[in-house]
């Protein structure tokens, strides 16, 4: 059942990115280009998405649990730390270079364009690289101190 629900959510999400033309890198780059022929469409996508999600979450969180499984899985981290700030900064540079972020990248796989396949492959390498580095760093940190 979990799989069907998440597949439906993915389809709806991909449909939203397609309808709003966020799958079009030129559209995203023209939003980011405030000094050029500015296209504010992305603001409306975020506003629509945020409004519905904020309202929807309010309604959902009144329940004691989700439909499948027992609890809501929410981030517990509160600290503003270097990985958050630095990671967001790096992410933004990549986003600005190609006009593509993870959701549209995966949705654009529908085109089977070699360029997007390359982007997604590189994105996976970046994710796995940082992830294994973080895992190693966590192991080192948890080792007993020998000094």
């Amino acid at each position: 059942m979990q799989i069907i629900y998440s597949l439906l959510a993915g389809v709806l999400f991909g449909a939203g990115l397609t309808v709003s033309d966020m799958v079009n890198p030129a559209r995203v780059l023209n939003f980011l280009d405030v000094a050029g022929n500015w296209d504010p469409t992305l603001i409306f996508v975020m506003a629509g998405g945020l409004a519905i999600t904020a309202l929807g979450y309010r309604f959902v969180f009144r329940r004691s649990a989700c439909l499948v499984g027992d609890k809501f899985n929410l981030p517990t981290q509160q600290r503003i730390d270097l990985p958050l700030v630095g990671g967001a900064a790096i992410f933004g540079v990549g986003w600005g270079l190609a006009g593509i972020c993870p959701g549209p990248a995966l949705t654009d796989l529908m085109t089977l364009d070699p360029k997007i396949l390359l982007f997604v492959a590189a994105m996976l390498v970046g994710m796995m690289g940082v992830n294994s580095w973080q895992a190693r760093a966590a192991v080192t940190k948890s080792l007993p101190d020998h000094t």
């Binding site: 709806l12 600290r79 503003i80 900064a89 992410f91 593509i100």
Partner: protein
């Protein structure tokens, strides 16, 4: 050139919001694409891998669906960046979203909808560095 379209933006955004709400209501998960994708490919969580893979596959299926019912014309969509730029951008997007615990969907939609301070800061920063990058590429370099 792209022509500003408030209606398709709002409608598409609303669909994204419905998807995020639906995923939380049904299986209690944040619809953050980078986190979902990362946990699909890392071996740490085999139990949760199937629902994540289903979500990831759903994204291009959603695009196919919209196209099949005649609501999307892909003929004017292309990837303006060159091959090398695509590789560098992909690496940065993957690394940055992993360090920063989220991307445009996880921080920009779900996090902001929960009034998370971390997400507000991350969203402000990545929109700023992205705009700065585009400014340098288009108006300085």
């Amino acid at each position: 050139m792209t022509t500003f379209s408030a209606i398709s933006g709002l409608v598409g955004g609303a669909l994204i919001g419905l998807a995020a709400t639906f995923l939380m209501l049904t299986i209690g998960r944040i619809a953050g694409v980078s986190g979902i994708l990362l946990n699909t490919i890392t071996p740490s969580d085999t139990v949760g891998r199937s629902w994540r893979l289903a979500f990831v596959l759903g994204l291009p299926l959603g695009a196919l669906l919209v196209t099949a019912i005649g609501l999307k014309d892909w003929s004017n969509i292309s990837f303006p960046a060159g091959l090398q730029t695509m590789i560098i951008a992909g690496l940065l997007v993957g690394a940055g979203s992993t360090f920063g615990s989220g991307c445009t969907s996880g921080h920009g939609i779900c996090g902001l909808a929960r009034f998370s301070m971390r997400s507000l800061i991350a969203t402000t920063i990545f929109i700023t560095t992205a705009a700065a990058t585009v400014f340098i590429l288009r108006h300085v370099a």
